[in-house]
Amino acid sequence: MEKEKVLIRLEHITKNYVNKHHNILVLDNISIDFSKQKFYLIIGHSGNGKSTLINILGLIDSKFEGNYLIYGNEVSTLNNKDLAKIRMQHVGFIFQDFYLDPYLKAIENVLVPMYINENILKESRKSKAIELLDKVGLKERINHFPRELSGGEQQRVAIARALANDPDIILADEPTGNLDSTNEKMVFEQLKKLSKDGKCVIVVSHSDLAKKYADVVYELDDHKLYEVKK
């Protein structure tokens, strides 16, 4: 693996959910690199800790043991503000439930992350949002509200939103869990395209279809990650 292409490096990551009564071990001493221009698939049984892992990767969970380097930054040394900034610049997150603002049109949903990005000129935001929606095949639907879109279309709006600030890392937690097979295919094709464009795409999915698109498949089992030969 070429060094400069590595965007994410996990070293000895261990995650326990601790509360008063329990101490649940979810991830046990995981070390792994993720690189540019690759489509990673993470599979595993429900409750094995896939979401936990991808949340750590997405910097939305920073309570874990071990070292996490993203773009050369050691996550444990970063404060909340720095983490937010890295999320804004480098990470696009896609959820199973889309999480679109129902009161905003497709284009307005895509604009939300751009408002806080000083690198995008005010004048070019709108055209950029349209371009992104065009890229996911929704050029005709930019002024539709989420309720006027199908599940697949909504997820594609969510993908466009995740791409708004042009991140290099795309994380998706069961992005097609709520979609039929036609829409599922479309979403994976989008994600594949992104990895071909040079992004590091990491997808958690149960779908068999996903394996066709993945460059590397990992299975999370018994708190550890194993590479699965395709």
Partner: protein, 415 residues
């Protein structure tokens, strides 16, 4: 996000999200109520302070005489604390003809009992001094005609009081003699007196008529006696007019007079102090209710917006908004909405108010009530409609903006 986008997005939000629209409408109504109640209360207070308390009639008591006492109780009354003057009621006023008479006005003037302690606020010239005699204080808009009592002034013939300053006028009156055989009054001798106008006062602000001039007590006593108006018959005794130094002391003085054994005491121009209390208490109650209402409304609004939809904050944070930016977005929007509500309701209130003022209030301005919007309701409403809700909301938004993303997203998964 620049200011224009911020305004635009906020406005769009109000019209798309029914919860926001509902909040705006409800708070707008609260705001209008606050403006109305506080303006009413404020005007009532001003009316009491500027008019009632300056009209001497509101601090003049009518006291029944003690028939068994030689001086009818006068000396006892004079000794009481807070009592400025006591005199027989016949001396309180006297209606006379005057040299102002011409083909357009009758010249009728009403002379009122005055002294250095009993006189209205002078707006030009000077007030009474203890050794004055044959001097008068007249209205700034002077209308010596009996139609002044009906508040009907013919503006063409009103006299600018200021122009009278230091000029003399003459009054004419006739002795009336009671004929015990026929039981009628008959005219007797004719008299006249000259008065110099030394001061001018604003009669509407103290609810006096435009033909009422104050003269010194000794002058009016002399004139009433000469005219025989203080002669009220063999077995009748005159009531006393008793002037108290301050409206607030009326209750106390009345109590003391009753303690002294005078049978009847009443306020000449009765002002219902219960009404004042009722208005005071009910406006405090309404304002308190409004304060609690806006707290409840704004916290349930923000609950719906922030707590029920906490996933939105979770998503914003996922997309790279830090706590400060989340806070700015939500609180900025809430502030703008509340300020919009405030200004909009102020505008509506002001339009309704001007409309009412033009239609209704203009008719009551004659009797000294000048309704106006002052700073008091504007500030208090701002506190109720903007400051208090925003503090409530800030607390809630702050609490949720600092939660971690997973909790924020999970909370709404469960609903």
């Amino acid at each position: 996000m620049n200011l224009r986008e911020f305004f635009k997005n906020t406005f769009i939000g109000i019209f798309r999200d029914k919860r926001k629209l509902f909040y705006v409408v409800v708070l707008l109504i609260c705001s209008l109520i606050a403006f109305s109640i506080l303006t009413f209360k404020n005007n009532f207070d001003m009316y009491v302070n500027e008019t009632i308390t300056r009209n001497i009639g509101f601090r003049t008591l009518s006291v029944s005489p003690k028939q068994d006492k030689e001086d009818l109780g006068l000396s006892e009354l004079n000794l009481l604390e807070h009592v400025i003057d006591v005199y027989s009621f016949q001396y309180s006023s006297m209606s006379v003809e005057s040299s102002f008479k011409n083909e357009n006005i009758e010249g009728t003037i009403e002379l009122l009992y005055g002294s250095p302690d009993i006189q209205p606020n002078i707006i030009m010239g000077r007030g009474f001094q203890s050794d004055d005699s044959n001097v008068a204080i007249c209205p700034n808009i002077f209308y010596p005609d009996s139609s002044a009592y009906e508040l009907q002034l013919d503006n063409k013939y009103t006299i600018n009081g200021n122009s009278l300053l230091n000029n003399e006028f003459e009054v004419y009156y006739t002795e009336s003699i009671f004929d015990t055989d026929t039981n009628t009054f008959e005219d007797g001798k004719k008299f006249s007196e000259k008065f110099k106008v030394i001061g001018v006062y604003d009669n509407t602000s103290v609810m006096n008529f435009n033909n009422q001039c104050y003269i010194m007590s000794n002058d009016i006593k002399k004139m009433v006696s000469k005219a025989g108006l203080d002669n009220i018959g063999e077995n009748s005794y005159p009531y006393f007019d008793l002037v108290v130094d301050n409206v607030d002391n009326i209750e106390e003085v009345m109590g003391k007079i009753k303690d002294l054994g005078f049978r009847k005491v009443s306020v000449k121009n009765y002002f219902d102090s219960d009404m004042k209390k009722t208005i005071e208490v009910s406006s405090i109650i309404v304002v308190t209710i409004l304060v609690f209402l806006t707290i409840i409304i704004s916290s349930s609004y923000i609950k719906k917006l922030v707590i029920n939809d906490s996933w939105k904050i979770g998503i914003l944070k996922t997309l790279g908004y830090n706590q400060m930016k989340v806070l700015k977005k939500y609180f900025g929007e809430a502030s703008l909405i509340n300020i919009i509500i405030y200004f909009f309701s102020f505008l509506i209130f002001e339009i309704i108010f001007l409309f009412l003022k033009f239609i209704i209030f203009s008719s009551i301005q004659y009797i000294g009530i000048n309704i106006r919007v002052s700073l008091f309701p504007v500030i208090v409403t701002f506190i109720i409609i903007v400051i208090i809700p925003l503090l409530t909301m800030f607390y809630n938004i702050y609490k949720y903006s600092k939660q971690n993303i997973i909790d924020l997203l999970r909370k709404s998964d469960q609903k």
